[in-house]
Amino acid sequence: MATEPAQRTSPPGPIGRRRAERLDRLAELAATPPDERGESLTRETLRRLRRSPMAMVGASIVLIFVVIALIGPLLTPPPSWLPLPLYSPIENVGLEQIRPGQIPGPSGDHWLGLDHLGRDELSRMLYGARQTLLVGVVATLIGFTAGAVIGGVAGAAYGLGGRIGRWIDSILMRFIDLLLAMPPLLLAFSVAAVLGRSLTAVMIAVGVAATPIFARLLRGSMIAQANRDYVLAATSLGVRRPRIVLSHVFPNSLAPVIVQATLTLATAIIEAAGLSFLGLGNPDSRWPEWGTMLAQAQAQLAVQPMLAVYPAIAIIITALGFTLLGEAMREALDPKLRR
């Protein structure tokens, strides 16, 4: 075959088109990190996760938590054909049993006892899972979105904008670094104090506190990817830029973000609980959320300490589940540990 100069633009005619396709496919193969089994990154990661006990435990916990969050509200109160001792989480069903200095513990009718307003603790715990999950997810989403925007802009400016672009990037990163220097709880505290006392304020505040991490992560990932050899190789082979970004840079940048999101979910729940404890959450304690429940249990500590223990253990286990899963994913993706 005669040697022809490599062309960047799409050549006319079917031959040219075929060549471009072949190049693209070649670039794809070249871009996939080499692995002796020739697996894709996702499949290999999933395989390693399946083997890791940490991942399995974490994933199981998360799964159970999500299931409870989804069906909890459906069971409280339970449909008539389900003979479970569950009630509506906001009804003071056992009010008559509450005396000053006395809150009944577990009994046949109430497996976890009552809370200080006579509501069934177990029902509140089951219902509260959903609200807790919501808090974690929303806060993480806020953090991720805001962080992705800032980090994405910074990374793009750095890569595409020349001198001005790099200047923009450094200004943004200076700001992000300062946010990072603040302890997340206190940062969230500041935001929540300003926004007022509501659960929404808490979610936004925790999300803001998580933003700098995502911003840093995404920007760093973008810049690192852009410099990777396989991108240079693909470019030199004639693969077009947007395709490189979409099929290679983006998926590879996604992995650490997923890991971080999982870890952030865990800390979001804990931070939200902390903020509630400090009095920044929703003062209305009717609809249960584990963090608020834990915070309000403080007042009953002398009378019925278990009211603090149930939500605390639930939070700890759930946060642990997400953390285990996140850490396991991080290990699975770490190229250094990849054989």
């Binding site: 200076r174 700001f175 670094d177 300062l178 220097a181 603040m182 302890p183 997340p184 709880l185 206190l186 940062l187 505290f189 500041s190 104090a193 300003v194 865990a266 804990i270 609980a273 902390g274 404890f277 400090l278 009095g279 920044l280 834990l294 915070a295 403080q298 500590l301 300490p305 603090a308 605390a312 939070i315 700890i316 946060a319 642990l320 953390t323 285990l324 850490e327």
Partner: protein, 334 residues
């Protein structure tokens, strides 16, 4: 070196300025208007008028901002609505308590954390190692204030080993010089007061230390594991040096570098922990004060606290940057 510091300081100023603007905007949008918010419940019409005058609320906004900044720079944050005392004074009274608490917690976290992390790394895969890895993960997932509850209930109320209320027992008559209670006791030679204050510090300090401890142990362990694989450790072994020399000069001196950089994170965890823990033990520090400020809508205090956090951690960040260049000769500005 000084040029480095000055440059970093200059980079910090825009953000602090931006923060002051944000707080200013927030101030003006507080419920009831800034005059009512700053005065709290005891807002008499005269007081409100006085405040309006002082803040220049009828003047153009830039003038208001100017006055606001002037006050800020003079560290005049107004008067606490709870105590009617200047905010800055209230802070200065309570700050030493929190510092004592944080310091004790840090001492515990470092003093126990580094050896444990080192041992876990040395005996990789042993029971200590596994305990450390799983324990630190659980520690990070436990809300600090719940840990405080547990400590208070177990060691305070059930076992009665340690005091759980306040900074000093009511019976003790202590003279306070610096408001660092333990230090005061030592300075005035009131040994029982010093000891009593110390005991009061222990439980809250353990609670506050939990997260820094988990962080330090994990970092030390990871860092030591990495360093143990380094070639220069192999060289040290090849030279036949003693275990102690290798551990001290070659392993730890390198392994602890990242831990030093984590001081910034640790300081954050310490202050957060203090804010969460002081209330549980009715420990009279900044944390508790702020908690009460939230409960009582004491905006001047809250604003001052936010500014305080920003300033503190910006400073710590800068100090860490500088110290790292001192400790690691490779980073030193050539």
């Amino acid at each position: 070196m000084t040029r480095f510091i000055i440059r970093r300081l200059l980079q910090v100023i825009p953000t602090l300025a931006a923060l002051s603007v944000l707080l200013f905007i927030w101030l003006r949008r507080l419920p009831g208007g800034p005059d009512a918010a700053l005065l709290g419940e005891r807002a008499t019409p005269e007081a409100r008028a006085a405040i309006r005058e002082r803040l220049g609320l009828d003047e153009p906004i830039l003038v208001q901002y100017g006055r606001y900044m002037k006050d800020l720079l003079r560290l005049d944050f107004g008067v606490s609505t709870q105590t009617q005392q200047p905010v800055i004074d209230e802070f200065l009274i309570r700050f030493p308590g929190t510092v004592e608490l944080a310091f004790t917690a840090l001492a515990i976290a470092v003093g126990v954390g580094i050896p444990v992390g080192y041992l876990a790394a040395r005996r990789r895969g042993g029971w200590l190692d596994n305990l450390v890895v799983s324990g630190s993960m659980v520690g990070i997932c436990t809300p600090v204030f719940f840990l405080a509850f547990v400590l208070k209930w177990v060691f305070g109320e059930q076992l009665g080993w340690l005091p759980t209320f306040g900074r000093q027992s009511p019976g003790i008559n202590a003279t306070h010089v610096t408001n660092f209670f333990v230090l005061d006791g030592l300075l005035t030679r009131e040994w029982d007061a010093a000891w009593d204050a110390f005991l009061h510090l222990l439980l809250p300090a353990i609670a506050v230390a939990s997260i820094p401890f988990a962080v330090i142990v994990r970092m030390t362990r990871a860092s030591v594991l990495e360093v143990l694989n380094e070639d220069y450790v192999r060289t040290a072994e090849a030279k036949g040096l003693t275990d102690r020399t290798i551990r001290g000069r070659h392993v730890l001196r390198n392994a602890l570098l990242p831990v030093v950089t984590a001081i910034g994170v640790l300081a954050g965890a310490l202050l957060s922990g203090a804010v969460l823990t002081e209330t549980v033990f009715a420990f009279n520090g900044i944390g508790r004060f702020v908690y009460l400020a939230i409960q009582n809508a004491d905006y001047p205090v809250l604003m001052a606290f936010i500014m305080f956090i920003a300033l503190t951690f910006v400073t710590i960040n800068l100090l860490v940057d500088i110290s790292y260049s001192i400790i690691d000769p490779r980073v030193r500005v050539h």
